[in-house]
């Protein structure tokens, strides 16, 4: 039975359980309008029956989904001829893949077809059997669940409380997804990173000055160990992010100041949404723009000044990234500037200060913690930004502070290492996860500090 059919059957059963449960509640509770004998409304009895019908089935389905594949695979492996069964693990999993592909009717290496045909047949058969058992089991469990619920429906039964408890558990589960996501990121990235550090020493990675993972494609190749010194990547990331912040912070801050302190309301109403459009543009568009428009312009300007500019210079990527962050900085600054109490401004104006004096000497110092928090958030954005640098920054890991040269960043390397054909156990692939771990930890620290600073700042003026 197909999964969709099974789902359909379950839905029908759930609906039936709801109506039956409700009818029974009405039957035992007496006609509506009569003295209230029921604790809960009939529909809650219906929901209750329905939940008992569906939830056990779902549990069975999930358990089966988690377990069945392992069971089937082990049975298939057992059935394999001796020579195949005793292969090393990596090869065994390749063989299994071939068997699965063959069972799915896809092309396999013809020369080995005969070898796998039996196993593939067994695999298909077991899967079909598993499906049948699962379908039967789920339907049976659902009936059983419904029967249990049916037995409990009595006038005094607190159906609503039970249903609400179930809903509450679902709500809690939903809010756990956020934690699970963080855990998932942390575990998956750390797990792979540890595997990487077993092959490449941690210190070599963190302090090494030479990055050339491309040499490590095949195990028998000369110089197969590759070089995984990530310092050039960190330096490149810092260089490009630094350029971006250098562009975004003053401009974003001045925009926020101008719009909140100088501009007429009409101007503000028009300009603010226009600038917010900048924030809504996908990064891939910025990347395209950086690579196709900004980089050539920088090159030409550089050439006319007699400078040698790389076609994928850090400057181009950094400038465009800066523009991307401008609305981010300006809206955060706008928030903190507006949080400075009006009384502070009036105090300054009352002494005869001009607007710019008030802004520079009173508002900005007062808003400084909030602005710093905003800049930290912007920095974390810049460090984690991917598409702009993938499209407009280079691949060569130069250790340089010259913005006219080409540098590479952590995110660029993650993408290059993981896009395309990959061998899962090679240090080259695992290095991407080690870089991901660094990226996650650094941005996490920046975010936590920034959010804390901003929150403390807000509380100060609440």
């Amino acid at each position: 039975m197909r999964l969709t059919t099974l789902a359909l059957i379950l839905i029908v059963m759930a609906l039936a359980a709801f109506f039956l449960g409700r009818r029974r509640a009405i039957a035992i509770g007496g006609p509506p309008g009569a003295a209230r004998k029921l604790h809960s409304l009939p529909k809650y009895h219906g929901y209750y029956a329905s939940l008992w019908c569906v939830l056990p089935g779902l549990v069975v389905l999930l358990a089966w989904a988690a377990l069945s594949d392992t069971l089937i695979t082990s049975r298939v492996i057992d059935s394999l001829p001796e020579a195949l069964r005793n292969q090393p693990e990596a090869q065994l999993s390749l063989t299994l893949n071939d068997i699965r592909n063959l069972a799915a009717g896809q092309m396999v290496d013809e020369s080995r077809r005969a070898e796998f045909e039996v196993a593939a047949g067994l695999y298909t058969e077991l899967r079909a059997a598993s499906r049948r058992i699962l379908s039967g089991l789920i339907i049976a469990v659902s009936f059983l669940g419904f029967a249990v619920a049916w037995g409990r429906l009595k006038p005094q039964f607190r159906a609503r409380n039970h249903v609400e408890l179930a809903i509450k558990v679902a709500l809690i589960a939903a809010s756990m997804v956020a934690i699970l996501t963080t855990l998932g990121i942390l575990l998956s990235v750390t797990f792979e990173a540890i595997r990487f550090f077993r092959q490449v020493p941690f210190a070599d990675f963190l302090f090494g000055l030479n990055w050339s993972p491309q040499t490590a494609i095949r195990a028998d190749q000369v110089g197969s160990s590759g070089a995984f010194g990530a310092v050039p990547l960190f330096a490149g990331t810092l260089l490009i992010s630094g350029i971006a912040l250098f562009v975004a912070v003053p401009i974003g801050l001045m925009i926020a100041i101008y719009l909140s302190e100088y501009a007429k309301p009409a101007v503000r109403r028009v300009v603010k949404p226009i600038l917010e459009v900048l924030a809504g543009i996908p990064t891939v568009v910025y990347g395209y723009f950086a690579a196709l428009t900004v980089a050539p312009v920088i090159r030409q300007v550089g050439a006319s000044l007699g400078l040698d500019v790389a076609s994928e210079s850090a400057l181009g990527a950094g400038l465009v990234m800066g523009v991307m962050i401008i609305p981010f900085v300006s809206s955060l600054s706008d928030d903190v500037i507006n949080a400075v109490p009006r009384a502070m401004r009036e105090g300054s104006y009352g002494l005869g200060a001009t607007k710019s004096e008030t802004i520079k000497r009173v508002i900005l110092p007062a808003a400084l913690p909030g602005i710093v928090g905003g800049v930290l958030l912007a920095a974390s954005r810049a460090i984690g930004e991917t598409m702009i640098v993938v499209m407009a920054a280079g691949l060569s890991a130069n250790l340089t502070a010259n913005p006219l040269e080409s540098v590479t960043t952590v995110t660029v390397q993650i993408v290059t290492l993981l896009v395309g054909d990959q061998e899962f156990d090679s240090p080259k692939t695992l290095a991407a996860f080690a870089l991901g771990l660094v990226l996650f930890v650094v941005t996490l620290i920046l975010n936590i500090i920034a959010l804390q600073v901003v929150r403390r700042y807000r509380e100060q003026y609440d």
């Binding site: 105090g347 104006y349 009352g350 005869g352 000497r361 007062a366």
Partner: protein, 304 residues
Amino acid sequence: MLLMDREKGFAAMREPADGREPVAATPVSPMVIADAAETDRIAADTVGDVTAKDAVICVRGGNVHYGETHALRDINLDVGRNEVIALIGPSGCGKSTFIRCLNRMNDTIESAKVTGDFRLDGQDIYARDTDVVMLRARVGMVFQKPNPFPKSIYENVAYGPRIHGLASNRAELDDIVYGSLERAGLVDEVKDRLDEPGTGLSGGQQQRLCIARTIAVNPEVILMDEPCSALDPIATARIEDLIDELSQKYAIAIVTHSMQQAARVSNRTAYFHLGRLVEVGPTDKIFTNPSHKLTEDYVTGRFG
């Protein structure tokens, strides 16, 4: 004891402390003639002498609109040199609006429109060539809630002299800061911690710091917008003493909700009602023998 109770009673009726009182005129209690037209009829002309000997500020036909709201109607009033004038009246009567006109603080409110003749030493405050910076240096202001800058005590007082270039060197600046703190009666309390933030002081000290900050610019007139409304009675008493001392040197216009305070610190009192200046006169006359019915109702506590 009686005084304390009155204080509390008034505290309950004070305008919201967010300093935005002038923007939205709140209606007064129903006992009062709450109708603007009615006020126009019975208080169209101010009772008492609006002029002052040796006037430093002179207002004739002053009107203020906040958008649709007519917040001040045809005000005529002088402020004399070395006098303390108290402006009293129920919430939303326009007294704060009035003093904010005198150093053009209303400029910062977008919807405010001021018309009429406002003069400082004969010079039109709202003339095109009048410089706001200079005007505010000459007419200082102390606000309802103490609002020290988030800087050190020293920097708070030095702020005005610094931006206006009043001191040519550090020693002169030190002199100004110490002198101002001294005249504000704060120097003994803070002289050992001038580097600490001004926001760390108590409410009363903060307000005296704000006064020190204002007199550091050496103004000719000081406007005070309910300077004690956020303070306890003891801190209030100290500020009142201070006002008394300052009146030797400066002209002071003080908005207050406390009639006791008005009686204690001022020479003259002006009673405002729904945007009209109802009555002006020597303070003791206003409180003992008011001429206008509205003033009498207010000072006898029939409404507020």
